[in-house]
Symmetry: C2
Subunit: 385 residues, 2 copies
DNA sequence: TCTCTGCGTGAATACGCATGCAAATAATTG
DNA sequence: CAATTATTTGCATGCGTATTCACGCAGAGA
């Protein structure tokens, strides 16, 4: 891809009326405004409103020192010219772009779509923009972060992608906060917000146990991330406490995807002819992949023949086809915490390093585990309308 | 939200070695680089490499006039300082941000996630960034577009949101191309790329007819958009051609969402006790909502008791739980065409107005319509790995 | 050896806006 | 009414980079 291009010079119109040195500026700009693609600038507005460019700037800067009447004049002139302030230019002086980079590693998992939506909503609500970077699942995020830095973003949010120590350092060195979403890196300088995955794993174990399960299978996710590991850990921990033998818990890697879980389930049950009472998909999308294989390829009934649980509580899992019992990750609060750690409102706030903020999830009973008597109504969640 | 903040002035260090006026610039910048949050600039790199700032700029501009040896020196110095060019500053002079605004109206429909992913991938591949705006479904996109304009984006892509004539005009006036994705507005200045929805609707009708259906129901989407209308039109058109009576085709609005389709289906079949051979969900997500009601609330078998078809071919519909027969929208080509109309590579290309580019979809046979003998293997599509 | 190209280079400047500073005006007080 | 104080305003400048212009210099041709 060629980066260079031909950018036309401003044409100097010769026949213009003679003007004094003081008006040179205005003239230059009003000439320019005839050109196609020329933006109208604060000078144009200033000229029309009969004030200085500073006044225009102030009119659009909340809290700055300007008379209400002047502001109105300016706003009116701006309206006439369809003027909008150039955020790019403004960023150059303020050193704030109001842009946050969101690095997405796995859009195939609806959980991250949920997160994206929530981030976008909340950031838009406070006048920021979201710059998206998609990274192939499991790939390094280094390149994406470097690109983000070029755009002088105010902060970086990283979901499901690897983060190198070097990148963390580079961001911090520049005063750019970076927060991991739904993961954390132990003993790292990078901060992160996540669900309390260990506790969540325990909730699932608890649910299975309460329904009488004694032998278990797990489909695990990305082995490099703590997220999957922690869920597994909490799950196993709780089972062991209850006297389950480790040999009665089998795990297979499902790569965090639906398709990966399909393969894993086939291997587990069709090839190895594994018998188990319960299957824990370390996230919902994998649990759903497993369910489809169990039901449609192996002819098993859920939960009668085998119980299933997931983790995340994505909207898809709530549908009648799955009615997946799961642990709800409180996306809303997680997003809130993530933004809080970014301190977008206060550029001078020292960067929060090494924070690990686990947030409790909640067990959502639906149809894939027989429910004890002390039951509540099944919960549901929606995205959008 | 306060926009203003206190930005510390650069501290002038007094005890610095005496320097000539020529080096004042360099000194200022190298002093600055000690400050927290200070970016290293092209001047810093220039100083270290022993060249002028122009040379640094040229080193990072492909195709510019610079000796290979000089470029290397500069790149080396930049590497040492972790320097990356400031795209914001560069945009100020080039008038190109390499940012494209993507306005999303309905992330709850995986089709748009698919599109987002593809846009992101393709744009990143050619060195552009994607600035995301989410708009509540059905809401005006005006505000989002105005925000995008502030950021001097190079183009706007609009999915599933209303576009006012005024906004189209404002964008065009500024030389910003705007393209509708998956919709078009008749007799409008705005260009758009979409699937050939009429033809797609006909494909579905054809499939139903080939399986022997004679009475039909439809769950329709957004009545304001042409997308749903066209699919319905093609569908009905083909049925009428085959001698189906209009009274044997009923339609209910499903609001383009899963939940809306659930309600619509209940109304249609549970309340009105409608009988029909086939149900056409105007998009996959609605067809899936309908299927879940038909199967789990009404106990109907698909396709034995009732055939179903969707439109889009989202990955979710391909799963064993649904195996939805549908029309595949060629996202890949649609995205390509959309970007082509944007002409990002050539800022001087006149804006393409009023283009309507329909792209043929393809019928994907899966399990929800009994398949005639001339069958192919069911197709599958994936997002991500 | 001396012009004629043409490439490489540095100095200077513009891009559009925010802000420190000082001047000017308005509001307040004694 | 004069003396302050508070509020507005304009001027000038800087933010970091791309690009124009003019100049230096090496190799080509005469």
């Amino acid at each position: 891809m060629e980066k260079f291009g031909h950018f036309p010079k401003r044409q100097v119109i010769q026949g213009a009326a003679p003007i004094g040195p003081k008006r040179a500026f205005d003239a230059q700009h009003s000439m320019a405004s005839r050109r196609i693609n020329s933006r109208t600038t604060s000078f144009d507005v200033a000229a029309l409103a009969g004030v200085s460019q500073s006044a225009v700037s102030r009119a659009f800067t909340p809290g700055s020192s300007i008379a209400a009447q002047t502001r109105e004049k300016v706003i009116e002139a701006a309206r006439k010219l369809n003027y909008v302030p150039n955020s790019i230019a403004s960023s150059l002086t303020t050193k704030r772009t109001n842009i946050v980079a969101l690095i997405l590693g796995n859009l195939a998992n609806p959980f991250y779509v949920l997160a994206l939506h929530e981030f976008s909503r909340k950031l838009q609500a406070c006048g920021r923009q979201v710059l998206i970077f998609t990274v192939e699942p499991g790939a390094e995020s280094d390149e994406a972060i470097m690109r983000a830095l070029q755009y002088q973003i105010d902060g970086v949010i990283l979901t499901s992608a690897q983060l190198s120590t070097r990148m963390t350092a580079i961001c911090h060195e520049r005063g750019i906060p970076i927060v991991l979403f739904n993961r954390y890196i132990p003993a790292s300088d990078a901060s992160g917000v996540r669900c309390d995955n260990v506790a969540g794993g325990r909730l699932i174990a608890e649910a299975f146990l309460s329904a009488g399960a004694r032998t278990f299978t797990m489909i695990t996710g990305d082995a490099r991330g703590t997220t999957s590991q922690d869920r597994v850990r909490g799950f196993v921990e709780r089972l062991i406490e209850e006297g389950i033998k480790r040999t009665d818990i089998e795990e297979v890697a499902g790569g965090s995807t639906y398709d990966g879980a399909v393969l894993a389930t086939r291997k587990l049950f069709a090839v190895h002819r594994r018998r188990a009472d319960a299957l824990f998909g370390v996230n919902d999308i994998m649990a759903m992949g497993a369910m489809d294989v169990l039901r449609f390829e192996l002819g098993l009934r859920i939960p009668e023949d085998l119980m299933v649980a997931g983790f995340d509580d994505i909207p898809d899992g709530a549908r009648e086809s799955y009615k997946l019992t799961t642990v709800r990750q409180p996306v809303d609060r997680m997003v809130e915490e993530t933004l809080a750690i970014l301190h977008l409102d206060d550029p001078h706030h020292p960067i929060e390093r090494g924070i690990d903020r686990p947030i409790k999830g909640e067990l959502i009973w639906r149809g894939t585990i027989p429910q004890p008597s002390s039951a509540r109504k099944p919960a549901k969640r929606q995205l959008g309308q």
